[in-house]
Amino acid sequence: MSHDHDHDDHHHHHDNHFSPMEARVRALETILTQKGLIDPKAIDAIVETYETKIGPRNGARVVAKAWAEPDFADWLKHDATAAIASLGYTGRQGEHMRAVFNDAETHNLVVCTLCSCYPWSVLGLPPVWYKAPAYRSRAVIDPRGVLAEFGVTLPEGRKIRVWDSTAELRYLVVPERPAGTDGLDQEALADLVTRDAMIGTGLALEPEAEA
C-alpha cells in the first residue's frame, strides 16, 4: 500500500471499511445489478417514498377526519380499507385495514408477535422497537408495563385489548379525542395525533401540550 493511500483517505473505499452488514448488502446489490435483476434507481425511489411521502401524517389525517365527521367515523369502523382509500392512502401493507376505536371502557394496543406486520400505508415504516423482541414479547402479556415505558398510565379500571396482527389485517388505533379541541380544524386536530397513539403505545396530545 502506497504512502498516499492510507485508511484516513475517504476518497478510497475498501471493503474493510464497511461493517459486515454494509459489506453484505453492498455485495448483494452489486451482484443483482450486474445481473440486471434490480434497478438501483428503483431502490432510491422506494426509499424516497417512505422517507418523504408515506408516514404517520397519513394516519393522523384519517383520525382527525373521524373525530370531526361522524359519518366518516362510521365508515371507518365498518370498512376501514375503503374509508382510508378515500383519502388516497392505499397499497403495500395497508391492503386490508381495520380501525379500532379507544373509548372510556377500552384501550387498544397493536402488536405483531410473529414478525413486524404494521400498517405502512397510514403509518409508514415501523420504528425499530416495534420490530424488536422486547415489544413483541411483552405487549401481549404485560401491556401496562409496556405502556408505562412510553409514559402512559391508563385510568383505573380501563380494560386493555391487545390485537396481535397474525394475519393480513392491519390495525389502526383511533385514540380518544382530547377535551378542549372543539374549535380546531382537521389539520390542527391531526397535529395532536402521534404515531404512538395510532399503535396504542400513546394517547392523543392535549392541545396545550402540542409541540
Binding site: M21, V25, I31, L37, R92, L114, C115
Partner: protein, 219 residues
C-alpha cells in the same frame, strides 16, 4: 414452526426502549436493504408467506441478535439461492459468476409508485360459507408443525370467542411451502387474559388473534 420469531409472552428481553429521535434508517445499508428486498419481492418468484418462513428459519441465536433489516437480508439471500437467482458462491465472493434464473419482472424506478400503491392483496374467494359466526366459542388447535404457521404458541389450545368474520384469505401454512393458496375464512378470535396467561394475567386484559378457519375447532 416453533422458531425464534414466535415471541409472544417470552421474558427476558428487557425494556422496550424507543430511540430518542427514531431515524427511519441507521446507515445507508438499511435503505439499500429495504429497497433490495422489495425489488426482489417484485420478481414474483416467492410469496410473502415463503419470505416470512425464510426469516423464521434463521437460527435462533442469530435471529434474536439481529436487527430487522439484517433478518430481511439473511432471508433474502436464502430465497435468492433457493430460486436460482444468486448462487451461494456468488454471495460469498460478492461477484456475478453466472446469469442465473430469469424473473417474471424487474422493478424499475418508473414502476415503483404504482407497485407500492397497489400492494399485494391476499383476500381470495372461497366457495363454502364460514363455519363460525360472530359469538361462537371455539378452541384453537394444539399443534407444533415444523413448517410455517401463523398460530402463535401462546394461543394454541385456548378457548376464545369469534368476534368477527374478516373475509377469506390465502392460507399461509400451505402457501409458504408451494402447496397453493388454498384460501380459508379468517376470524378475529378474542381470549380472556386468564385463558392465556392463567393466574398471572393482567387485570382487564383481552388478546385477539386473526385465525384461519382450520386453526379453530367448535366447542
Amino acid at each position: 414452526m416453533n422458531g425464534p420469531h414466535d415471541l409472544g409472552g417470552q421474558h427476558g428481553f428487557g425494556p422496550v426502549a424507543p430511540e430518542p429521535n427514531e431515524p427511519y434508517f441507521h446507515g445507508d445499508w438499511e435503505k439499500r436493504a429495504l429497497g433490495v428486498t422489495l425489488s426482489c419481492g417484485a420478481f414474483g418468484a416467492w410469496t410473502i408467506d415463503e419470505s416470512r418462513h425464510a426469516r423464521e428459519n434463521i437460527p435462533p441465536a442469530t435471529y434474536l441478535s439481529a436487527s430487522y433489516y439484517e433478518i430481511w437480508i439473511r432471508a433474502l439471500e436464502t430465497l435468492l439461492a433457493r430460486h436460482g437467482f444468486v448462487s451461494a458462491e456468488e454471495l460469498s465472493t460478492g461477484r456475478m459468476l453466472e446469469k442465473g434464473a430469469v424473473p417474471k419482472r424487474v422493478l424499475t424506478a418508473d414502476m415503483v409508485p404504482a407497485v407500492l400503491a397497489k400492494g399485494g392483496p391476499c383476500d381470495r374467494p372461497v366457495a363454502t360459507p364460514p363455519r363460525f359466526a360472530a359469538g361462537a366459542r371455539v378452541r384453537t388447535r394444539n399443534f407444533n408443525p415444523t413448517t410455517h404457521t401463523r398460530l402463535p404458541r401462546y394461543a394454541r389450545g385456548k378457548v376464545g370467542v369469534v368476534e368477527a368474520v374478516q373475509g377469506s384469505f390465502v392460507f399461509p401454512d400451505d402457501n409458504a411451502h408451494g402447496r397453493g393458496e388454498n384460501p380459508e375464512w379468517v376470524y378475529t378470535v378474542v381470549f380472556d387474559g386468564g385463558e392465556i396467561w392463567g393466574e398471572d394475567a393482567a387485570d382487564g386484559l383481552t388478546v385477539s388473534i386473526d385465525a384461519w378457519e382450520s386453526y379453530l375447532e367448535p366447542l
